[in-house]
């Protein structure tokens, strides 16, 4: 099937963006693509917000002593940074933006199964976001994003609003998962069997189940804390006989699978980008599909590795440590399959590919350091140090967020109809990579040397690590901000994009650019599998 622009594609000048105009047409839309864009704007606002918070508290950490904020404000800054990044950016992130935009297109459908629920999920996001902002105005909280009891029960500050925010945001996530799982079951083109689906769909499907089954656990746990705090029922407070470790169990039963909600869709996108830019079929399609399910399943068995030093029974610590090693296996399978895909492929280092390769390096470092954390004897020493902070930034930031940007660079032309400056995007990838490693690698070393996390001040021996880290953070944040500004500039002023600039083989590249409201004019072209490549690429 040639990628030459067909008559049907050349025709429409009406696309999903200009089909209806006016702010209200966007705020009342049920078009999955518009909803994806709404999520894009809103999640990016909170990404920038949370990044600026990090900029601020890393300033505080530049030198020992407490120069700018004081320990109390510092604790509120890091708490808000965690809440915003996790609940307002990374968890919705890839599913709500790229899942919404592309899931129906990739399976040959016109929309998701429940378009109005889809819009509702975005409004839940907005309400949750506003509640988070209200909590800032009310002074914020210093509990850390984990809200551990009994401190959160006993403290005078307003934890109700941030907890309510997290609760409402949980509903946004549940609705997205419910929609995606149903859509994959019901709206696949009749010719697209399960094992013909693109791997991004497998990823979104697995993620949907995790969203459905794990999110209610944290939802009700936060409600229990609020009931105990405001109504006085006995559940977690030791003063009433409760066990704070029970709170930790219930909290992490969600919050660990949450990181798989973050990484699975990202890995799905990697499985799309690497074959496209290696011009080669993905190696081990079925393995990768099954590994998505396996990661979702096994990832739900390891939560208590966040609690090794909390006071659990030794039996639990051993079992959870053992299970934690297992979850690395399906992830490693993916990495090997991606590398095997590239081997003897015709690799093109376009920006999406450059950022994806960065992901492989950074996520591998993150994943391997996870094993250190999972080892009981080591974790005793590194728990609650900056080693852990570095680990999860390598995985969540170097992993999920880097792919968020890779996906943005991959699909920007299709979503906006415009191309950005590719040299700039690649260069910024390079500066970002340098800044990122400068920011976080020293934190591994500081952690091993004993630097605690969530501390506004530290002993002079840690100064060099923090100086490097803070400087790295400037380079990193600047790179991302410039990239975002450039992307949004290009959406208006960039060169018009062709339908398939990368030579991709999945269905979105056969649509108009940007797509029409109902995605396809005529039947979707399923003559070719998602991982077969045409000879030529449009330029």
């Amino acid at each position: 099937m040639s990628t030459a622009v067909s008559a049907a594609q050349a025709a429409p000048t009406t696309n999903y963006i200009n089909a209806k105009s006016g702010v209200w047409s966007w705020l009342s839309t049920t078009d999955h693509k518009r909803i994806g864009m709404l999520y894009l704007y809103s999640t990016l606002v909170f990404f920038v917000f949370a990044a600026l918070l990090a900029f601020l508290f890393r300033l505080e950490l530049f030198a020992p002593g407490v120069q700018y904020f004081g320990a109390d404000i510092y604790n509120r800054l890091i708490t808000l940074h965690g809440i915003s990044m996790i609940f307002l950016f990374i968890i919705p992130g890839i599913p709500a933006v790229f899942g919404n935009f592309f899931l129906p297109i990739l399976i040959g459908a016109e929309d998701v199964s429940f378009p109005r629920l889809n819009l509702l999920s975005w409004y839940c996001f907005i309400v949750g976001a506003l509640l988070a902002l209200v909590s800032v105005i009310l002074g914020g909280v210093d509990t850390g994003w984990t809200f551990y009891v009994p401190y959160s029960l006993r403290t005078e500050q307003n934890i109700f609003v941030p907890m309510l925010a997290a609760f409402v945001l949980g509903w946004s996530s549940i609705l997205t998962g419910l929609n995606f799982v149903t859509t994959v079951h019901r709206l696949r083109d009749r010719r697209m069997e399960w094992f013909k689906m693109p791997l991004f769909i497998w990823a979104l499907y697995s993620t949907g189940w995790v969203q459905l089954l794990a999110t209610p656990v944290i939802g009700i746990t936060l409600v229990m804390v609020m009931l105990e705090k405001f109504v006085g029922v006995a559940i977690f407070d030791p003063a009433r006989g409760g066990d704070p470790i029970l709170y930790e169990h219930l909290f992490w039963i969600y919050s660990h699978p949450a990181v798989y909600i973050m990484i699975l869709p990202a890995m799905g996108i990697v499985s799309e980008i690497i074959p496209t830019f290696s011009r080669k079929t993905i190696f081990g399609y079925k393995f990768i599909a099954y590994s998505s399910i396996a990661i979702a399943a096994i990832g739900s068995l390891v939560w208590a590795h966040h609690m090794f030093t909390s006071g659990m029974a030794d039996m639990a610590r051993v079992i959870f440590s053992f299970l934690t090693f297992f979850v690395a296996i399906p992830s490693a399978v993916k990495v090997f399959n991606w590398l095997a895909t590239m081997y003897r492929g015709s690799v093109k280092l376009e920006p999406p590919m450059v950022w994806t390769l960065m992901f492989i390096v950074l996520f591998t470092i993150g994943g391997l350091t996870g094993l250190y954390n999972g080892m009981l004897s080591i974790d005793i020493h590194i728990h609650d140090t900056s080693f852990v902070v570095a680990h999860f930034h390598y995985t969540m930031f170097g992993g999920t967020v880097v792919i968020f940007y890779a996906a943005l660079l991959y699909w920007w032309p299709k979503m906006t109809g415009r191309m950005y400056n590719r040299k700039l995007a690649t260069t910024l990838g390079g500066t970002f990579f340098i800044g990122f490693n400068l920011t976080y690698f020293p934190l591994f070393m500081a952690g091993i040397a004993g630097m605690p996390r969530r501390y506004a001040d530290y002993l002079p021996r840690y100064e060099i690590y923090h100086k490097l880290s803070t400087i790295g953070s400037w380079i990193m944040i600047a790179s991302l901000l410039i990239l975002l500004l450039h992307l949004f500039w290009s959406a208006k002023k960039g060169r018009k994009a062709v339908d398939n600039p990368w030579g991709g083989a999945t269905l979105e590249w056969t649509t108009a650019t940007p797509p029409v409201t109902l995605n396809f004019t005529g039947e979707p072209d399923l003559s070719r599998w998602a991982y077969e490549y045409p000879e030529e690429v449009e330029e």
Partner: protein
């Protein structure tokens, strides 16, 4: 999509529902009766066991799992397995605390 209902097409006779209801009532009586017997540690297990029996009746007949596509049964089993794992692993902690 007009006349065709969803996949469990055959209409369940009223008598099935009534019989299930009677069985549920009987099981409720048994549950209450059994609670008067001093079973110590088995008391809770017995209660849960009977409740599980009742819930299977509700799931299979009132909620039509018996008559619909197998997919729904599979989903329910997956969800229950996930839940069992959550409780089970939690008790690797609580069952072994000093």
């Amino acid at each position: 999509m007009g006349m065709l209902k969803d996949k469990d097409h055959h209409i369940v006779p009223y008598s099935v529902y009534i019989n299930v209801w009677l069985a549920l009532l009987v099981l409720t009586v048994i549950t209450v009766a059994v609670s008067y017997v001093d079973m110590r540690h088995v008391a809770v297990l017995t209660a849960v066991f009977i409740a599980t029996g009742k819930s299977m009746l509700v799931l299979l007949y009132f909620m039509h799992i018996r008559f619909g596509k197998p997919m729904y049964m599979v989903m329910i089993l997956v969800v229950l397995a996930a839940y069992a794992v959550f409780i089970g692993l939690t008790f690797f902690d609580y069952g072994f605390r000093a």
